[in-house]
């Protein structure tokens, strides 16, 4: 109950157990969660999931912050080579924020077919390519905005406005957590800095704060305020907590019907218990040398993202619902935002992440977590097939068409869905809006996006907005 759905007392837990015992199944669980929710109860007129048996219990979102270029990664465009150096004459709006538009620019990273499926992947991903048959690339993604702030918000919350709950919050709200000693929704930013918009990207918005993303770091203090105050021994910490609980218990005795008081007593006990639980999860030394090497922990280039990927596997193993990892942070070239030199930029960021992501897939498979874990890869948008300015190897933002991939539980791997136009500007076949990607992720987690809502300001708010959204059926097994 470290990050509970607002469980308030053993009475409620009993009620939940009763409901489960009565055979409510998944629907019963959701109802029990609603009953147990302190504030969630205010929206109890809304229905939560799961609505059907989930394919995936966990989701990992590998967020390539800044916007990776589709034509350099997963969307080969031979026509670009043919027209290299010529001006673009199509309809798509090119040039965000008044930036200069250059000429069409071929990718310097050759594509090759991989695996039995023959999925084409560029040379940026030598390690990941070995898992080509697991990847389901959606080449026809499109978003609503050219700016990083609103783009990151849309990819994370479904809306270009701040103040909405993020995907992880919706999953926490809809499905709860499996390990009450750990948060349901964990975020690991890049050490160079967070994404633009920072915490708005993992905010719980109008939902209770308990559904917000929790920042996690590998290292001695993975969570805020997790360690004892400076100079306080474990023995003193325990003694102080014992005194606190004894005094609180005496206070509660005079007010036995106040469940909030009791819940608060519980929360202190759980906080204490969790100090050791979380420290245990982040202790990567428990992993073998072979595993650490596989993730690239000894190579300075891959060490950070490798640690995050390994920690992710450990978090998933301990029941965490949703983990989001950021590649890239801070400003422009420290992210995938290759305006100046997209070639060196992507070589760096793909280089930092290729081996760790491949290792994560291998590791999930050998630990048996692959069949219950969904992987999502991508950024807030893609990049233009043109250069930014003439004779400059940068690429500008492209939100009309870009690539993302899904892999893991319930996903039909080894295929590319949809297509951009001949040059790679805009999605033209099987177009997939960001909200349709969200609907697909929720679907794989057992939730009908059109039915998961939270009452706020007189409206049943949904991750996927007002319009009903279709699931990308072709992506499913």
């Amino acid at each position: 109950m470290l990050f509970p759905r607002g469980d308030r007392s053993p009475f409620i837990l009993n009620r939940r157990q009763q409901l489960l015992h009565l055979g409510g199944g998944f629907a019963g669980l959701a109802l029990a969660d609603l009953l147990a929710g302190s504030v969630v109860a205010e929206s109890s007129r809304a229905g939560t999931g799961p609505h059907f048996v989930p394919k995936a219990k966990h989701c990992i979102f590998l967020f390539m912050n800044g916007g990776p270029s589709q034509v350099d990664t997963f969307d080969p465009k031979p026509a670009l080579t043919k027209h290299h150096g010529q001006p673009y004459t199509g309809d798509a709006v090119v040039g965000s924020n008044g930036r200069p538009v250059g000429h069409l620019m071929q990718s310097p990273f050759p594509f090759r077919s991989h695996g039995d499926s023959g999925l084409e992947i560029s040379s940026l991903y030598p390690n990941l390519s070995a898992h080509a048959d697991e990847l389901c690339v959606i080449r026809s993604m499109h978003a609503d905005t050219a700016a990083h702030a609103s783009g990151c918000l849309q990819m994370n919350t479904g809306s270009i406005f701040i103040g909405k709950p993020s995907l992880g919050s919706w999953l926490s709200y809809g499905l709860g957590t499996e390990n009450q000693n750990l948060p349901a929704f964990v975020v690991m930013p890049d050490p160079r800095g967070g994404p633009i918009g920072s915490a708005s990207n993992w905010s719980a918005g109008f939902m209770p704060a308990s559904h917000q993303g929790t920042l996690f770091r590998s290292g001695s203090a993975p969570l805020l305020n997790l360690s004892n105050p400076e100079g306080t021994s474990n023995r003193t910490q325990r003694r102080s907590l014992d005194l606190l609980q004894a005094l609180n218990a005496e206070h509660l005795q005079r007010r036995p019907e106040e469940s909030e008081l009791e819940a608060r007593i519980q929360s202190y006990e759980l906080a204490f218990r969790m100090q050791s639980a979380a420290m245990n999860v982040v202790d990567l030394q428990q992993e073998t040398r072979e595993t650490q090497d596989m993730y690239g922990l000894t190579n300075p280039l891959t060490a950070d993202f490798g640690r995050k990927c390994l920690l992710t596997r450990r978090l998933i193993q301990h029941g965490v619902r949703f983990v989001q990892l950021y590649s890239g942070g801070g400003h422009q070239e420290e992210t995938w935002d290759g305006h100046g030199d997209c070639i060196s930029n992507h070589r760096l960021h793909a280089g930092e992440t290729d081996q760790p992501i491949a290792a994560l897939i291998t590791d999930l498979k050998r630990t048996g977590l692959w069949d219950e874990t969904l992987l999502v890869w991508g950024g807030e948008f893609g990049r233009t097939p043109t250069s930014e300015g003439v004779n400059k190897p940068g690429r500008d933002h492209d939100w009309h068409g870009f690539s993302m991939w899904l892999a893991g539980a319930g996903v039909r791997g080894g295929q590319a869905i949809g297509a951009t136009d001949e040059l790679g500007f805009a999605a033209v076949e099987d177009r997939c809006h960001v909200s349709e990607l969200h609907a697909t992720i929720l679907h794989l987690m057992g939730i009908d996006a059109n039915r998961l809502h939270f009452l706020h300001q007189g409206l049943n708010q949904r991750l996927t907005g007002v319009e009903p959204r279709q699931v990308v059926r072709k992506a499913l097994l």
């Binding site: 109950m1 470290l2 990050f3 607002g6 308030r8 109802l31 302190s38 504030v39 007129r45 809304a46 229905g47 924020n97 609503d144 905005t145 050219a146 700016a147 702030a149 609103s150 406005f161 701040i162 930013p189 800095g193 967070g194 994404p195 633009i196 920072s198 915490a199 109008f206 704060a209 308990s210 917000q212 920042l215 805020l224 305020n225 360690s227 003694r239 102080s240 005194l243 606190l244 004894a246 005094l247 609180n248 005496e250 206070h251 019907e257 106040e258 008081l261 608060r264 519980q266 929360s267 202190y268 759980l270 906080a271 801070g330 059109n450 039915r451 809502h453 300001q457 007189g458 409206l459």
Partner: protein, 725 residues
């Protein structure tokens, strides 16, 4: 029930809904045993409640119900269906002669019902047919919703008679008469008055958000005059500093815009100071409303009233919008939605794309309100916001640039590319019999300011808001004040007084208070506070069924109380916001981690929490964890979650550790080295009482092994410290 916007997609009983499942299994299990002969006689009977009502509710009632009565027909209750408006909608026993069946079966698009969406399924049509042919049985007893124009919140505010009580002495305070009468009718006892020292701490935390000092406790134990304490607290500047924060919640206050740059709103703190000052001055609430909506259009406007209009500019703002034309309407939507909720308790924002599905608010109502604010322009230089210089003061507000106000069009489905008919400024139709007269052209307000010509649309609108005939404004503010004092509102949905909101638990009391506020108290909130706080109902002990509830203090009051108890509270009032220190780990998750948060020094950061900078992209973790209000939209009520990260923050966090140290030093200084004296003083300072013998014994034993600082850390974390008695 009708809150489920998805019923369109999932018509009928949803089998996955466990409540429905339980209901059905109950019917299956119990009916055959207990009511055999009844069931046998109609083994295949179609049941109105279970079979017919869901179909009608999902497919018909939005046009033929309490909200709208197309063709004068309502299908939301059995007897209304049989009345059938002008048609023989249902002829019992004769489905062939029933208009209902003809309509749902028809292939003619002009005849077919429902006119939009999928047609009613063959199975459902069979159910309707069987029900009619079997005689169209309807329930004997059936609640029929009042038509929307009789919805309680839209009725004029009249003053009900104060109930006269039997068997007990008639209370002096009318609040008690209403509350006690209800309790008597429900067979509940009237709870006893809480102990004097309990009430002292309760009233301090309620009115000023700080516990009473030892000196204040001593003074009270001499006089025992709680009324005097209440009167004194209402005169203290700390009253405004506590209660302004409640209004800032409603006003979606923040110091920055959010989004990529998350730029500081220049001089927005002057609005925060205005609210504090307005409350301390007991500015009549009607004037408070006028100034925030139209402080620049008032005949007696001043710098202060101009600052008040900052209310309209508090919203989030993307200085690099995806679509500038839509963005303009997003900004107007922020104003219209917030204004609707804050003053009227109506979710008017839902009518942006289409007529409100569940409230009598149309898209025309919405865009007529947009027209009221349409003349406003955001002063800006590209992405940089500008202030307006008024008499040498930088004012953060919108501006009406002189000239003819722009035309406003209804936007179909909320889309800027799909304009419908032109609309003119107006107030929601359902709330008025006669529209206020909006000026047709700009009016020169006075000759003092050269830019003085404005449309006066906002002034007209604001005057309607605070007119004595307005059914909502007084009810809504009375309920907010009540909610804050008692922990729960008379209407539990403080921002929603519409059909979808909760009905009042004590409708007569709410109306009595609203009428009294306008007619007797001259909209004085301090008089309302006094009336409430001097009632026995507020002063009663808290029990499982008392009107006054246990409720955790807001994070601001928790933090301020810790600083007060430790002696570190910096009482400095007003001015630019301070920035409390934030753990480095939280800062590292930001793009611009070097510059995003320059923490204030300890002295400055020890000011009251209302002066803490609210950055939309980086909320102080302690505030966020402890349920700070939503900073993006109007917050009707703070959430109270109870989770372990709060315990980590309060038990391990730097602030507590620091204040525990100061607290201990103060105890040593004032109580000397005697452990018992230290404990007694600590309890009095933090909790305003003596510890029990067993509490004392525990703490004495603890101090044999651990430090006084550790004891102070424990005391600052006690449930009793954050849950006022």
């Amino acid at each position: 029930m009708a809150s489920n916007a998805d019923e369109r997609e999932a018509p009928g009983c949803r089998p996955e809904d466990p409540r429905e499942m339980m209901k059905q299994s109950w019917l299956n299990d119990v009916l055959p045993l207990t009511a055999c002969w009844l069931v046998v006689s109609s083994a295949s009977a179609v049941d109105f409640e279970n079979d017919i009502r869901p179909i009608l509710r999902d497919r018909c009632v939005s046009c033929h119900g309490p909200l709208r009565q197309e063709g004068d027909l309502r299908l939301d209750a059995g007897k209304l269906i049989l009345d059938g408006g002008t048609h023989a909608v249902v002829v019992p026993g004769q489905s062939a002669a029933s208009e209902l069946l003809r309509r749902v079966r028809s292939d003619d698009p002009d005849v077919r019902m429902p006119p939009e969406g999928n047609r009613i399924s063959a199975d459902q049509i069979r159910l309707l047919e069987t029900w009619i042919d079997d005689g169209a049985e309807i329930p004997d007893e059936e609640a029929v919703a009042a038509p929307v124009e009789r919805h309680w919140a839209f009725q004029p505010i009249r003053r009900p008679d104060v109930p006269v009580l039997n068997d007990v002495e008639q209370p002096v305070n009318p609040i008690d008469a209403f509350i006690f009468a209800r309790r008597q009718s429900e067979g509940l006892l009237i709870p006893p008055r809480a102990a004097a020292e309990v009430l002292l701490r309760r009233v301090f935390l309620d009115l000023i958000g700080l516990p009473p000092t030892i000196a204040e406790q001593d003074q009270f134990s001499e006089t025992q005059n709680l009324d005097q304490v209440i009167a004194d607290l209402l005169q203290r500047p700390e009253y405004g500093e506590r209660w302004a924060r409640h209004w800032l919640d409603v006003a979606r206050y923040a110091d920055s815009n959010g989004y990529e740059r998350d730029a500081e709103k220049p001089f927005v703190w002057r609005y925060r100071d205005y609210v504090i000052q307005a409350l301390n001055d007991d500015k009549p609430f009607d004037r408070f409303v006028l100034e925030q909506i139209a402080g620049d259009e008032l005949p007696d406007r001043s710098v202060e009233s101009w600052i008040a209009t900052g209310f309209l500019r508090l919203g989030h703002w993307d200085d690099e919008p995806a679509d500038p034309r839509t963005d303009r309407y997003d900004q107007l939507d922020d104003i219209v939605s917030t204004t609707g909720q804050a003053f009227l308790g109506l979710t008017i924002g839902c009518a942006r794309c289409h007529d409100h599905k569940f409230e009598p608010l149309t898209a025309a109502d919405y865009y007529s309100m947009v027209a009221v604010f349409q003349p406003l322009v955001r002063p800006q230089d590209g992405r940089t916001e500008r202030t307006i210089p008024i008499d040498g003061t930088d004012v953060y507000a919108w501006q009406e640039t002189s000239g003819q106000p722009p035309e406003t069009f209804l936007l179909k489905r909320g889309s800027v590319t799909n304009p419908g008919p032109r609309v003119f400024p107006a107030v929601p139709q359902i709330l008025t019999k006669a529209q206020p007269e909006f000026p047709s052209a700009a009016v020169l307000n006075d000759h003092h300011h050269s830019e003085g010509a404005t449309s006066r649309r906002r002034l007209t609108f604001a005057r309607w808001l605070v007119a004595l005939e307005n059914p909502l404004t007084a009810r809504v503010i009375v309920n907010r004040i009540w909610q804050q004092h008692f922990g729960e509102g008379l209407v539990t949905t403080a921002n929603d007084f519409g059909l979808m909101g909760a009905p009042p638990t004590h409708p007569e009391l709410l109306d009595w208070l609203a009428h009294w506020l306008m007619h007797d108290a001259g909209w004085s909130l301090k008089k309302l506070h006094t009336l409430i706080l001097t009632s026995r109902s507020w002063q009663s002990v808290k029990t499982a069924d008392s009107v006054i509830r246990y409720r955790r203090l807001e994070v601001e009051a928790i933090r301020d109380s810790m600083l007060a108890v430790s002696g570190q509270l910096n009482a400095q009032h007003f001015g630019p916001a301070m920035k409390p220190p934030i753990p480095q780990a939280a800062i590292e998750a930001n793009t611009d981690k070097e510059r995003i948060w320059q923490a204030s020094d300890d002295r400055e950061a020890s000011r009251r929490s209302i002066y803490a900078f609210v950055k939309r992209g980086l909320i102080v973790p302690m505030f966020e964890t402890l349920d700070l209000a939503d900073t993006v939209s109007s917050c009707a009520k703070r959430q109270v979650t109870t989770v372990a990260p709060q315990a980590l923050c309060l038990f391990n966090g730097r602030l507590t550790q620091q204040q525990a140290g100061h607290f201990a030093a103060m105890l040593r200084q004032q109580a000397g080295d005697d452990l018992r004296e230290q404990i007694l003083l600590a309890f009095r300072t933090a909790l305003c009482r003596r510890p029990s013998e067993s509490e004392l014994a525990r703490m004495q034993a603890f101090l044999k092994a651990e430090s006084l600082e550790e004891l102070c850390r424990v005391i600052l974390n006690l449930n009793e410290f954050v849950y006022p008695e």
